[in-house]
């Protein structure tokens, strides 16, 4: 570890000049291959401005990292990074910056001791993100951490036209912004009213933030406007007599969203989908994306969806069944560059 003295961080002119130097890299012990340095990105090694230095992105699905792993990551980071910090990516993954590519094999070998894997970038299903879910968060309705680990194990790394981001939120507060994901899942619960036990106290009407519940001025008994209900379960939690009960519990599914230069608001295609069906939906959406994206190069699913929305809706309907949203809206651009007038979205063609 004595090498961490004053290091000379050279500026990589090859990067600026768009040259793609090829180097022999040992990614795993004993396995040397020749790579163009930008290609390493797909393996989770992101090229930096500085010559020969990379950011190593670790695979931390749902941002949950055991203390044992955290300890090892810190140890490995201190040993191989030329800096003294880690970076937490916007998608909850820990990144070790300033690592020389010559250290990759050793670094990944040491991380293997705690079963810490390296992530992946590029055109594929990315490491899924999630909130803490219902396990200990009082607002959580669905165990999205469990689902997130499932997504990671089954679908991480599948090749697509472009990046494919999946996130999961446990409730309608939607901290994981499922509308900004290529595919997002958000938990919800349908409230069911039990007239027999209701005392007409009226608390549910106050607890509902959406104005979906109104209480009769005489009896206090509630009526619910389902079209306003977000399935947040506030009424269920507030009711003193447990007269609001949990009905169907499941996932709101959103597709086609993204952030970036030209963000797109994804569309809800299913409501209260049972969690067992999540995997099937992921598979079908990726199948459609990869098929309709054939020969189109680097294009996000949202762009294809905006052009072939009806085709998608017809394709996905049998999978969603009774949980499908009726007449789902096509994903739309969110206008954020209000100071710009030149850029216009491409016209939509079916």
């Amino acid at each position: 570890m004595g090498k961490k003295k004053n290091i000379d961080i050279k500026y990589d002119h090859a990067l600026e000049e768009q040259k793609r130097p090829k180097v022999e890299v040992e990614l795993e012990k004993g396995k040397k291959e020749v790579f163009n340095l930008d290609q390493l990105k797909s393996g989770g090694y992101i090229r930096q401005r500085q010559k020969d230095l990379f950011t190593v992105r670790l695979r931390c699905p749902g941002g949950r990292v055991a203390f044992e792993k955290l300890k090892k990551i810190a140890e490995v980071g201190k040993k191989y990074s030329k800096k003294d910090y880690a970076h937490i990516s916007v998608r909850q993954s820990i990144e070790i910056p300033y690592v020389n590519y010559k250290d990759f094999a050793q670094l990944s070998e040491e991380l293997k001791e705690v079963n810490q894997k390296i992530a992946s970038c590029g055109p594929r299903v990315r490491v899924p993100t999630a909130c803490s879910g219902c396990e200990y968060n009082p607002n959580g309705l669905i165990d999205v951490q469990k689902l997130c680990q499932e997504v990671d194990q089954k679908y991480f790394g599948i090749q697509c036209n472009h990046k494919f981001k999946i996130s999961l939120s446990g409730c309608p507060i939607d901290c994981f912004r499922t509308n900004e994901m290529d595919l997002g899942f958000q938990g919800g619960v349908e409230p069911i009213w039990d007239e027999k036990t209701c005392t007409g106290c009226g608390i549910c009407g106050y607890a509902c933030k959406e104005g979906a519940i109104t209480n009769d001025p005489e009896t206090g008994k509630p009526t619910i406007d389902r079209s306003k209900c977000l399935y947040c379960a506030d009424c269920i939690r507030a009711c003193p007599t447990n007269s609001w009960k949990e009905g169907k519990k499941g996932l709101i599914v959103r597709v086609g969203g993204r952030h970036g230069r030209h963000p797109v608001n994804g569309s809800a295609i299913a409501e209260l989908l049972p969690e067992e069906k999540m995997g099937q939906v992921i598979e079908k959406v990726i199948e459609w994306y990869n098929d309709r994206g054939k020969g189109k190069g680097r294009v996000r699913i949202g762009d294809i969806l905006m052009k072939k929305w009806q085709d998608f809706v017809d394709f996905i309907k049998p999978v969603l069944g009774e949980y499908a949203v009726k007449n789902p809206k096509r994903p739309e651009f969110i206008k954020i560059h209000t100071f710009q007038t030149g850029w216009q979205p491409e016209p939509v063609i079916e």
């Binding site: 009082p138 005392t199 106290c201 009226g202 608390i203 106050y206 607890a207 933030k209 206090g220 506030d234 939690r237 507030a238 009711c239 003193p240 007599t241």
Partner: protein, 79 residues
Amino acid sequence: MEEKKPIASLDLRGVICPTNFVKAKLKLEEMNSGEILEIIIDEGEPIANVPRSIKEEGHKIIKVEKLNSHFRLLIEKGA
């Protein structure tokens, strides 16, 4: 059904969230399981939030009464 007698009462009118809940919680901590606390809280935010928090703490709201612009709750301390 005859109303159970509260052994303590808190007038939390004008007390904002979450202070109103915290005061009720502290009072309940001094009490024995099964004993009744009476609280009076405002409508709006307090009535939307306090009952939920009380339930989550494992207590039972056995009576809710609306009095003009506030509510009277009877809470039975949980086990």
